[in-house]
Amino acid sequence: MPFLIDCPNCGRRSPYEFKFGGECKRAPDPGADVKAWCDYLYLYENMSGVQDEWWYHTMGCRSWLKIRRNTVTHEIIEE
């Protein structure tokens, strides 16, 4: 299947209409320690497989979307 992103607002679009926003991460509490914050900021699961990630539809509806994608095959997994 071609690598297209199904934008809930705009329909299936070329990924080049989007800006890739990285894997979904959870920020630590504001009061967490240096290790927790640096782990969060600088380390990545960098999944070779399915991961949840953010995409911003720059050329379309200008919304951030959460997409589940297989980073090896580019398959988008519908929830």
Binding site: F20, G22, K35, Y42, L43, M47, S48, T71, V72, H74
Partner: protein, 395 residues
Amino acid sequence: MPTSQPVLRYKQPEKRYDVIVIGAGLHGLAAAYNLARYHRVGRIAVLERRYIGFGGSGRNTEMIRANKRAHETLPFYKESLEMWDGLSAELEWNLMVQKKGLIALAHSDGELAVMRMLSDSQRRAGIKIDMLGPEEVKKMVPSLDVSDKPALPVAGAQFHPEGGTVHHDAALWGYAKAASRCGVDICAGVEVTGFYVEGGKVNGVRTNVGNIAAGKVHVAVGGYSSEIARMLGVKYPVVTIPMQVMTTEVMAPFLDYYVASPRLHWYTQQTLKGDLILGGQLDPWQSWNSSTTWQECSERVAFILEYFPDLAHARVVRSWSGLCDCTGDSAPVMGPSGIDGLSLDIAWGYYGFKSTPACGKYAAEYIATGKVPEKIRHFGLDRFYNRQRVREIII
């Protein structure tokens, strides 16, 4: 004349080694070769899940250079660049080193300012660098358009005379051949699937062909480092992103230098064979898929044609991509992993190729001595926790 002597010798792995290197790319082979040749560490194996040079080592643009930014790491890149010179003789294999010179273009006063800053840093590190005006660039590259026709005209350039190319496959096979000769076992088709870690110390790996005990394990898997991290239950500061490259049909020699535009993310050079290698931009998203993509290639070509309009009818015959494991500060991770006996040589992004000789040398030194060599001191994982990130990025 030479007869058909085996150059690549694959072995079946034994049950235990003193050092296991994961990944038969350039860095893994170079580390193994240096260990075997210059350090007494016992039996060494290089485990490779595919074939020699499957990853980034076989999918790059062969560029060697030392014109990086961070003054604390410039000596490392300088040494690596110098090491290429003697390597053909040492490995008894012609790596086709061509220090043809690298011209990096600037397109505005602002870029020139950055370039001057870089050049001065590099000069202070003992690297030969010149700043060129548009007219000087034109003399060196007559086919380059330095007029105000391009949307971003050439405002000047940096010339790095020692920059150039090395044949990547030649380097791979040269290191592989030399490592084999020094007694290193190169085992292809052996996939590491896990690690044995006890009491914070690594003592072996699990593979598809059985367990292998090891005193030390060195990770040199290029773009695949996060897969190793998952086996170890950790994360690395790495995102894997493909980079696209293209090559054209052969043309009579017309381009003597490597020409690049850091601003527009393109570079091009003409190989000995006469084809052009074009490329220079990472894909805009994380991906482990090494299919070629159109957008980046097409955009690179569009920019290149702005400056080389006569190439409009040159023809691209092939494009490919390699996976780059990129850190946020564009510097690698080398040295301790936090696990005893397990050392890292990862996160080289798209500058792993040029760093091979020094990486091999210092990785081997670290593995053999357990002490982090001064020249790779800044590449540790700890830098992410104490605001010591390498200032490699230019903005």
